[in-house]
């Protein structure tokens, strides 16, 4: 076997080692704020070896949902349900809503979503972005008569500063 091919084997071994390390949440082990970790993370981003695979693990958290309420200059209110045209749109939208549960991302993401809805409804002058969370009862609770509940999480109000061009 030529040296080049031996090198391929070594690279493959290193790649799989990285996959295994990141799968065990390697980045969260200790002080990840150094050049080695940073380089590994960047390499991993390009090669797909820096992923964690916590799909539905260790458990399933409550599902967040966002309700948009717009108001036009006459004070008329309307509730908006944001939906897309493709089958996968809702899955991707829910991903954004997942990030909205993080307090540090909340302001900027809710402002982005508000902007999107205001662009869709040019006559609207104000918007309220409210997040609710779906609480699912356990099987035992369900059998005792409890049902799905929506709990209020947070809300943010935005007002259009300039009239829409549309």
């Amino acid at each position: 076997m030529p040296l080049k091919h031996k090198l391929y084997y070594a690279l493959a071994a290193f790649h799989l080692l990285m996959v295994a390390l990141y799968a065990t949440h390697f980045a969260a082990w200790g002080n990840a704020d150094n050049k080695v970790f940073d380089t590994m993370g960047k390499v991993g981003k390009f090669t797909g070896s820096n992923n964690i695979f916590s799909f539905f693990a260790p458990g399933i958290s409550d599902q967040p949902y966002v309700v948009y309420a717009i108001k036009d200059s006459t004070g008329k209110e309307q509730l908006i349900d944001l939906t897309g045209k493709s089958l996968d749109f809702t899955n991707r939208l829910n991903n954004i809503y997942g990030y909205l549960t993080l307090p540090e991302a909340r302001s900027v993401l809710s402002a982005s979503m508000a902007q999107t809805i205001l662009n869709l409804h040019p006559s609207a002058s104000e918007i309220r972005v409210a997040m609710v969370v779906q609480k699912i009862p356990t099987i035992d609770e369900y059998n005792q008569g409890n049902r799905v509940q929506w709990q209020f999480w947070f809300q943010k109000d935005f007002r259009k500063m300039y009239p829409s061009k549309n």
Binding site: P58, I60, L87, I136
Partner: protein, 319 residues
């Protein structure tokens, strides 16, 4: 000890059918094309400059320094909308090239880069399906996936040594093994996967609520069995998928699990991609012989039908 080394050497050097890599390429690129077409009606929302998340914000929240649509737009001085059209078109064409195996490695490299750019911009909307598409496209770029079922393979003699084909297939297989093992262990650390609540909660959530499963509350063993089955399939995947007595059962089990995810949780693209990755990584050696037998029987049946039709026609002509 010597026996173990022999087994390891055989695992990494013994020849495997090169068609496995061809099937991997066709299925991955075919899937990516399908995904592009499915998402196209919402493409502007997901990746456009004035989409759900404006570029400035998605770039600011992206932590990896990978190129984004905004980077391309500013580097080449293109308008933002034109950038989206150009990158999407290049992505589509490169996937087409990869699918038919024309200049395979270049096409794979371009497809991988375009996918990276698009998903750096859409990182907040991306979920597991994008993770695995990215991994699969990376493998299409670095592994010799054009050795079979491709235009490139028709033009020239395959110069890739057998052991490199084996190494390539093993890398894909072992990546899947690591992923399922990690998934299984992480799930097993949560109580919900032991008492059956995980399936119950997932299927009750509005996001995944495609079927009414309220009846499960009266048959608590069913969600428990589904959860335990998932834990079993995922945690023991790295061993059972290679063990001769369990490999076919495990492959069928894991494909069924992803089919369940696609149908009952509405994660169609994710479920489909995972099924295709498993089929391409393990399907041919495990079910290749059975498929060949079925195809042979189909061919024979067609020949019988043709012969029967000809006899019937002749008997009608000469009563």
């Amino acid at each position: 000890m010597k026996k173990i080394f022999t087994h390891i050497a055989s695992f990494f050097y013994a020849p495997v059918p090169k068609e496995m890599l061809g099937i991997f390429r066709v299925l991955v690129s075919g899937f990516a094309l399908l995904q592009l077409l499915v998402l196209l009606p919402d493409w502007g929302w997901l990746y456009g400059p004035k989409g759900l998340i404006p570029w400035e914000i998605s770039d600011a929240l992206s932590t990896n320094g990978a190129p984004s649509l905004r980077t391309v737009s500013s580097v080449f001085g293109l308008s933002q909308n034109i950038t989206v059209y150009i990158i999407t078109t290049i992505y589509f064409l490169s996937l087409g090239g990869l699918f038919i195996g024309y200049k395979t490695r270049y096409m794979a490299a371009v497809a991988w880069l375009m996918h990276l750019i698009i998903n750096t911009t859409g990182n907040l909307t991306a979920y597991g399906v994008e993770t695995f598409t990215h991994i699969a496209l990376f493998y299409c770029m670095v592994l010799p996936v054009g050795v079979s079922l491709s235009l490139d393979a028709r033009k020239k003699i395959c110069r890739v040594p057998g052991y490199l084909i084996t190494l390539s297939v093993r890398v894909i297989q072992l990546h899947l093994c690591i992923m399922y093992l990690a998934c299984g262990i992480e799930k097993a650390m949560g109580e919900q996967w032991w008492n059956g609540e995980a399936i119950w909660i997932a299927m009750q959530q509005d996001q995944f609520h495609h079927f009414n499963i309220n009846w499960m509350a009266h048959f608590t063993l069913i969600p428990k069995l589904l959860c335990w089955g998932t834990l079993l399939l995922e945690t023991f995947y790295p061993v059972a998928i290679f063990f001769s007595k369990t490999k076919r059962l495990w492959l069928a089990g894991i494909i069924s699990m992803h089919l369940f995810i696609a149908v009952f949780l509405g994660l169609h693209l994710f479920g489909l991609l995972m099924m295709l990755l498993n089929i391409s990584a393990f399907g041919l050696p495990y079910y290749g012989a059975s498929i060949k037998t079925i195809l042979k029987r189909c061919k024979l049946s067609i020949q019988y039908i043709k012969a029967f039709t000809v006899i019937k026609r002749k008997s009608a002509l000469y009563p």
